[in-house]
């Protein structure tokens, strides 16, 4: 049988069985692609969610004080009610027009003012269809001209288009307008009431979930804003945020690592320091923010101090634990080889824990990142968080998302790079062997390694 010679297919699901490298990389890609796909699907497939209607064309309701303009979102359930209200308003208006008193007691100038508003209701559609430019939103002559074109069907709005219902209203209104003057004249504008356009819109997600393309466009825009007076550019903001994260973290590491190592080495210091540290770390760092401002005043000092408070106590305990995890036989072997107490600390404990300490610090750097947002809200808001805060308050969530993603990316790539170079820093670990065969590192290190080999060969031949 030919089937019996076939290699059995490796199962995708098997308890604790390693996947092949190809499968692993496929899954890594999918792990990033999947959330993106879900986000895109929810954004672009209207039937999945889209609980709101985003207005392309709005209208004023005479008896309702809330004013919606094009671009605003209303709930799907309210939208038909909104349209119906404007329709019945138009019906009433038509009755009024055919009555004896078409102005219903209003003055001609106030009707004319209201009519000019109706004239401009088409503006968002005209801009989107590129009939007029962004800066022509108040250019009534051009808008008037567009009404004429629409009414005579010489041009049609394509995307978004105008509903048949609204086209009929445009024609009706144009009859009234063109009867007065073929071109727009401010003083000679129609003074009998014009019909309102019926609101038009397309279903959409709430503003807090912008679509990927909107976020991307906003991201590009956000980064191209230059520095302006006391408003820093995005690159400057990132620099400032990095300064706070790394400032607080490095300070914590500088003080915390030695204390942790000493605690892990001498039970005396462990008993003296760790119980209080253990208690202190349960007090959330943000609760100290006002205190820190009082001590360190404004600017960056209290922010760095907050990242410090948030990481330092964890760092001491983690370092102490890592130090305690050092293989006892290594210390015993060193003693039988004649190492003194001081030498045990400097020649065995410290070099022995470095690789694990490196991993600990990598994880704690991640913690430091989580404190960043709170730190930047302390005292005078600053950096990336200040931008998120401001934009969020204006509900410009498409501007907020690029920054959130950016913070994620910086943290993720810092960690990836640190993990990649671990093997270079510690060639004697398993990571070291992996690093030696890593394609990217191989390429980067080719020249230095060649130089090193030439040098060592020379010195070897020199001694023999």
């Amino acid at each position: 049988m030919s089937g019996s010679l076939k290699k059995a297919r490796e199962p995708w699901f098997a308890v604790r069985r390693e996947l092949s490298p190809q499968r692993s990389s496929v899954l890594t890609i999918v792990s990033f692609a999947l959330p993106l796909l879900i986000w895109a699907a929810v954004s672009y497939l209207p039937f999945l969610w889209h609980p709101d209607v985003q207005l392309q064309l709005s209208a004023n309701r005479a008896d309702v004080s809330t004013v919606y303009v094009a671009g605003d979102r209303v709930s799907k359930s309210y939208f038909p009610e909104f349209q119906e209200a404007v329709r019945s308003q138009n019906e009433d208006l038509k009755k009024q027009l055919s009555s004896d008193d078409p102005l219903a007691g209003a003055s001609e100038s106030s009707v004319r003012r209201a009519n000019k508003k109706v004239l401009r209701h088409l503006v968002p559609l005209l801009i989107q269809n590129k009939w007029i430019k962004d800066d022509q939103a108040t250019d009534d002559e051009a808008i008037y001209h567009a009404w004429g074109e629409l009414a005579s069907s010489s041009r049609r709005l394509k995307s978004p288009s105008l509903s048949e219902e609204n086209l009929a209203i445009v024609e009706d209104n144009w009859k009234a307008m063109s009867a007065i003057a073929p071109n727009y004249v401010s003083d000679n504008f129609v003074s009998t009431p014009l019909l309102s356009l019926i609101p038009q819109g397309k279903t959409s997600n709430p503003d807090y979930l912008p679509a990927p393309d909107q976020v991307l466009a906003a991201g590009v825009k956000v980064f191209s804003i230059p520095a302006d007076g006391d408003r820093p550019s995005m690159v400057q903001r990132i620099g400032h945020s990095l300064q706070i994260v790394f400032g607080g973290f490095c300070l914590a590491a500088l003080v915390g690592v030695p204390i942790g190592v000493v605690c892990g080495t001498y039970p005396f210091f462990s008993r003296l320091v760790e119980p209080f540290t253990d208690f202190f770390r349960y007090m959330p760092a943000p609760t100290f923010s006002t205190l820190l401002v009082a001590i360190f005043l404004a600017n960056d000092a209290p922010k760095i101090a907050l990242v410090f408070v948030g990481t330092f106590f964890q760092l001491v305990l983690v370092t102490a634990n890592t130090t305690r995890r050092l293989d006892m036989p290594l210390l015993e072997a060193a003693q039988t080889l004649g190492a003194s107490q001081r030498q045990l600390l400097t020649r065995v404990v410290v070099p022995g824990i470095l690789p694990n300490l490196y991993d600990d610090l990598r994880i704690l750097l991640g913690w430091a990142w989580t404190w960043l947002v709170i730190a930047e809200l302390v005292g005078v808001k600053s950096g990336l968080t200040e931008f998120i805060e401001t934009q969020g308050r204006f509900r410009n969530f498409d501007m907020v998302f690029p920054i959130i993603i950016l913070i994620g990316l910086i943290g993720f790539f810092t960690d990836q790079i640190l993990s990649l170079i671990k093997g270079l820093v510690f060639p004697y670990t398993e990571d070291g062997t992996k690093a030696a065969s890593h394609p990217i590192l191989k390429a980067v290190l080719f020249i230095p390694r060649l130089v090193l080999r030439l040098l060592t060969n020379r010195s070897a031949s020199g001694t023999t």
């Binding site: 036989p329 072997a333 039988t336 080889l337 060639p427």
Partner: protein, 299 residues
């Protein structure tokens, strides 16, 4: 297991072996253990791990310590190394009492204790460096030790690149580089596979032959003890006490072929008798129910 009837008396020594032992006992005593007792205090009362142990090791002697599990052989060697303190009694090295660990007693552990961040050469140089020795002579000496354990090609390798056997060879070289008076070995080949272990035993005998070094070696392997030792210190458990010190009648130089010699078998048989007494536990007390059909016999 019924004892074979044709087993030699392990006390029977050929004239050459007998002469070797009388010469050995004329040598100076390197390590002397006097009335050594170790008691571990615990909540359920004190546990006596070692009870008045007395023995002496002569210069350039190879002595193995063997015993059932829990007889305190590891505790004994840790006290000798200074890693644990005795409750009473004394340990004398060249007649001087020892206190705490020191480079005069080299130790090879069962677990791999090479410093992972140091290369093979740096590991071997660790002891001399702790003593403040540096320079070209120390380096070239270290190279010699590495050459002696056959790892010259690997002097710049890191421990994680070596096999288990290679690691233990480096550990031996590292301990010897300190020029200790005695080499203490705590089941050093226990974690190795059978073939590597056999190879390591031969290596160790060669090294021992060519050096002025006394070795105290802990094992639970009867073959290993018999193959390596001049004398075997048999401990019994609960409490750990010296049961007997056996003079191994197998002539030197030792070879693997001697594993089936009458002297070898006699020695092993005696150790087995001591550490697996017939009346206490053993195969006889186990009950095996028959779970196969009649007529489907394999014997």
């Amino acid at each position: 297991m019924t004892p074979p009837t044709d087993i030699l008396d392990y006390r029977t020594q050929s004239p050459e072996v007998s002469a070797r032992f009388s010469k050995l006992k004329e040598r100076p005593v390197v390590l002397s253990v006097k009335n050594l007792t170790k008691i571990f205090p615990s909540q359920n009362g004190d546990v006596t791990a070692l009870n008045s142990i007395d023995f002496e090791v002569y210069r350039r002697e190879f002595m193995c310590v063997i015993g059932p599990s829990g007889c305190g052989k590891s505790t004994l060697i840790r006290i000798l190394a200074g890693l644990e303190s005795e409750t009473s009694g004394a340990v004398l090295l060249d007649g001087n009492p020892v206190a705490g660990p020191g480079p005069d007693r080299g130790m090879v552990f069962q677990s791999y204790t090479l410093f992972p961040w140091l290369t093979v050469k740096q590991n071997v140089l660790f002891g001399p460096k702790m003593a403040g020795q540096k320079g070209a002579t120390v380096e070239s000496e270290a190279r010699q030790w590495i050459e002696m354990v056959g790892l010259s090609k690997f002097e710049n390798s890191y421990p994680h690149q070596l096999s288990g056997g290679m690691k233990q060879r480096v550990a031996i070289a590292r301990a010897l580089a300190n020029r200790p008076r005695i080499l203490l070995m705590d089941e050093p080949f226990g974690a190795l596979d059978a073939q590597t272990r056999c190879q390591m035993q031969s290596y160790l005998l060669k090294i021992w032959k060519n050096l002025d070094i006394t070795i105290l070696f802990i094992t639970h392997d009867l073959d290993e003890a018999t193959y390596l030792s001049d004398r075997i210190l048999v401990l019994k458990a609960n409490p750990g006490e010296v049961d007997e010190i056996i003079e191994v009648p197998v002539p030197r130089p030792r070879t693997v072929d001697q594993f089936v010699s009458p002297e070898f078998i006699a020695t092993k048989h005696r150790i087995d008798e001591l550490i697996h007494p017939k009346n206490k536990g053993g195969d006889d007390e186990l009950h095996f129910p028959r779970m196969t059909k009649e007529g489907d016999d394999v014997e």
